[in-house]
Subunit: 386 residues, 2 copies
C-alpha cells in the first residue's frame, strides 16, 4: 500500500509529523537574524542532548563524514591509532584512518561479539612511551546490534593519559546514555537519521577541551571538515558553509520533543524496546545475533537458521505488512536481519513488528514457535517495565 511504510531499520528512522511539517516550510536565509535564533536554540539543546558544556557542531554530512571529521581534526600523518573493529563501521574507521596515512592498529572481535576491554587495557598499558594518539571506538555497532563497553574501554584510555578517545555514536546518541563530560569523551560523532528523529543529512561532532588542544597541532589536511571553522562561526550563531536550513528547522522541533520527554525517559524507552524485542525473539526460538550482555538498545539482529531465510522474511514483512527491516551487510548478507528500534519508536511499534514477524513465520511454515508467544513475551516486558 502506498505511503503505509513503517521503518524498522537502523536509519533512516521514523520522523514525527511535526518535524516533517516544519521541514516542509519554505527555507529561510541562513545569514538572517531568524536563522541565528534557530542556531542559538539548536546549539544549546544539542549540548543538553550530548550532556556536555563543550562544543557540539553541525555539519552537512552523513554519519561517515562526521566520524571522518572527528579523526582528521585531531591527528597528524603517521600518528598511531588504535581502532576497535567488530563490525562494518569499526572496520570503516580503520579504513578512513588508513586513507589519511595514520598508523592503524586494530583490536578486533568477531562480528556479533563485543570488543574486549582487556585487550585495550593491555595495549594501552604496554604503550609506556605514549605513542598511541587516539583510540577509535564504535559505541553501538549498527551492522550487528552490538553495544561495545565504551565506559570501560574509556577508563583504560584515561589511564593511558595521552591518547584521545574518538567515539562513533551514530546509533547511540539520543538512544543510549552517553554522558560525554562525565566520562571525558574527547570527540563524539553522530548522525541525524538515528536517535535525533529527523531525516539523514546532518552530522554532529562534540569536541572536548583536550581535543581542541590536539586540534591546534593536528596536521591532517581539511577544509570542509575543519571543525575550527564551525566552532568559530557557531559562537556567532552561524555556519561557515550553507547549512541544510530545512533539516535544522526540523531538528529544532525534534530537540524540543526530546526535551519534553527527558533524557532518562528516552533512554529507558530504548531499553524497553530492546528488552521487549529480544524477549519476543527468544520466545519465537530465533537466534539473537548479539549476546544479552552486549545488546544495543538501538538495533536487534536476528540470525534465523535454515530453512528460514533472512531475506525471505524481510521481503514478506515488506510485501505483506509494509514493514521495512534491514538485512545483513557484507558477509552477513542473507544471514541476519536487523530490527531498528531507535528514535521515534513507541511500544505499539514493537508489538506491531513482532506480530507481523509471527504472521510471516506462519506463512513460511516455520514450526519452531507457538503462535502468539512472541507478542505475549513483548507485552510482558512492556507491561512490567513501565
Amino acid at each position: 500500500m502506498d505511503d503505509k511504510l513503517m521503518l524498522m531499520i537502523p536509519g533512516p528512522t521514523p520522523v514525527p509529523e511535526q518535524v516533517l511539517l516544519a521541514m516542509a516550510k519554505h527555507p529561510i536565509g541562513h545569514r538572517s537574524g531568524d536563522f541565528s535564533k534557530v542556531m542559538a536554540e539548536v546549539t544549546e539543546n544539542l549540548k543538553w542532548l550530548h550532556q556536555t558544556t563543550g562544543d557540539v557542531m553541525m555539519l552537512t554530512v552523513s554519519g561517515t563524514g562526521a566520524v571522518e571529521a572527528a579523526i582528521v581534526n585531531v591527528l597528524s600523518p603517521g600518528d598511531r591509532v588504535l581502532v576497535g573493529a567488530n563490525g562494518k563501521f569499526g572496520e570503516r574507521w580503520a579504513e578512513v584512518s588508513q586513507a589519511y596515512g595514520l598508523a592503524v592498529e586494530t583490536i578486533t572481535a568477531a562480528w556479533g561479539q563485543p570488543l574486549d576491554p582487556e585487550q585495550f587495557r593491555a595495549t594501552l598499558e604496554a604503550d609506556t612511551e605514549k605513542t598511541i594518539k587516539a583510540v577509535i571506538i564504535t559505541h553501538s555497532e549498527t551492522s550487528t546490534g552490538v553495544l561495545n563497553d565504551l565506559e570501560t574501554i574509556n577508563r583504560h584510555v584515561k589511564a593511558h593519559g595521552e591518547a584521545l578517545i574518538i567515539v562513533d555514536a551514530v546509533t547511540s546518541l539520543g538512544a543510549i546514555n552517553l554522558p560525554i563530560d562525565q566520562w571525558g569523551l574527547d570527540v563524539v560523532a553522530s548522525g541525524s537519521q538515528k536517535g535525533y528523529m529527523i531525516p539523514p543529512g546532518l552530522g554532529f561532532v562534540s569536541v572536548s577541551a583536550r581535543a581542541w588542544d590536539a586540534y591546534k597541532t593536528a596536521k591532517l589536511p581539511r577544509f570542509y571538515l575543519d571543525l575550527g571553522k564551525y566552532r568559530k562561526d557557531a559562537a556567532k550563531n552561524t555556519t561557515p558553509f550553507t547549512p541544510p536550513v530545512n533539516l535544522i528547522v526540523g531538528l529544532q522541533v525534534a530537540l524540543r520533543m526530546m526535551q519534553a520527554e527527558g533524557l532518562e525517559s528516552i533512554f529507558a524507552r530504548h531499553q524497553r524496546m530492546m528488552q521487549a524485542t529480544r524477549s519476543a525473539i527468544k520466545a519465537l526460538n530465533l537466534p539473537l545475533f548479539a549476546p544479552d550482555v552486549a545488546a544495543s538498545p538501538a538495533i536487534t539482529s536476528v540470525a534465523p537458521l535454515a530453512p528460514l531465510d533472512s531475506e525471505q522474511i524481510r521481503s514478506l514483512l515488506r510485501k505483506r505488512f509494509d514493514i521495512a527491516m534491514a538485512g545483513g551487510q557484507d558477509h552477513l548478507k542473507g544471514k541476519i536481519f536487523r530490527i531498528g528500534h531507535l528514535g521515534f519508536v513507541c511500544d505499539r511499534d514493537i508489538l506491531a513488528a513482532i506480530a507481523a514477524l509471527e504472521a510471516t513465520l506462519l506463512e513460511l511454515e516455520y514450526g519452531g514457535f507457538i503462535p502468539g508467544s512472541g507478542v505475549a513475551a513483548a507485552a510482558k516486558v512492556l507491561t512490567q517495565s513501565r
Copy 2:
C-alpha cells in the same frame, strides 16, 4: 508578517510547493528497491541537466564540500594548480588547495571584475613542461554577481593539453548554459540550493573520462569525499553513505519540473531576469557592481552611493516588504547588496522586487530617480524578451 518571506538571495532560493510537499513525506529506506528507482531516475535526469553522458554524483555536502571533492579526487600533494580568484569563492578554492598542500598560483581580478582569459592563455602557454595539473575556475562568482568567461578560459586549458579544468558551477548550473561534454569540462561542482530549486544539503560533481584517469593516480587523502565510491555505487543505483533521502525525493520532483520547462527555456528565463533587473537598476540610477559584459544571470549586485546605505536598503526591504536580499561579503559588507534571481523565480518576482526597491528608495528620500521608472524598465525587458 510570518511565513510571507520572499527569498531573493543567491541561495537558498525559493522552493516549489510540490518539492516541499515531496520532502515532507516520511523517509524511505535508502537500501530499498523504491529508493533505487528514485536514484535511477534522478541520476539520469542529472546527466540531462549537466548536458553530459559522463558521471554525475550526489554527495551530502554543501557547495564547498562539492568543490573540495572535485579538487581532492584528481590531484596529488605538491601538484601545481592555477586558481582564478576574483571574489570570495575563487579565493576559497585557493585556500582549499593550500590546505591540501597543492602548489597554488592565482590569477586575480578585482572583486566585481571578470577574470582575464588572456592571463590564463599566457600562463598556460608558458608552461611548456606541462607542470600545471589543473585550472580551477568559478563560473558565476556568487559574492559579486560576475560571470567569468569559462568558455574562453577553457579553450586555453584545452590548448595546454595536460591540465584538467575544475569548475565551481554552484550558482551557474541549472541557471546558465554549461554544456559539459561539448566544452569538455573535467570536473564540475554545484549545490542544491541554487538552480536546482531545492533546499541546501546536496552537492553534485560531474567527472569526465580524463578526470577519472587522473583519479587513478591522484594521491590526496579522501574517504567521505572519494568520488570513486560514489561512482561504483551509483552504477547500482545506490550510495556509499546514507543519502539525504527526503532531499533526493524533492530533487526528483524538481528535475521533472525542469525537464517540463526545458533547458533552453530555463536559461532564457534567467537571462530575462538578469536583463530586467539590470535595466531597472540602471533606470533607478544605482550603480551596478559587475559590468554588463560579465553579468551573471543568477545574481545582480548593486553598489549604492552615499548617502544611500546597502544595509539600510536591505533592512527596510526585509521589514516593510518581507523580501530578503543578500548583503556584501567580507570587505564588500555594507558596500553592495545582491539580488538573487535564480532557480524558482518568475517575472512577477522581479517586478515585485523592483517595485519594493523603489518604495524603499522613496522612504529613504533618495531623489535620484523618477518613481516608477525601475518597474517600467523591467516591464519593458520582460515584454520584449518573451
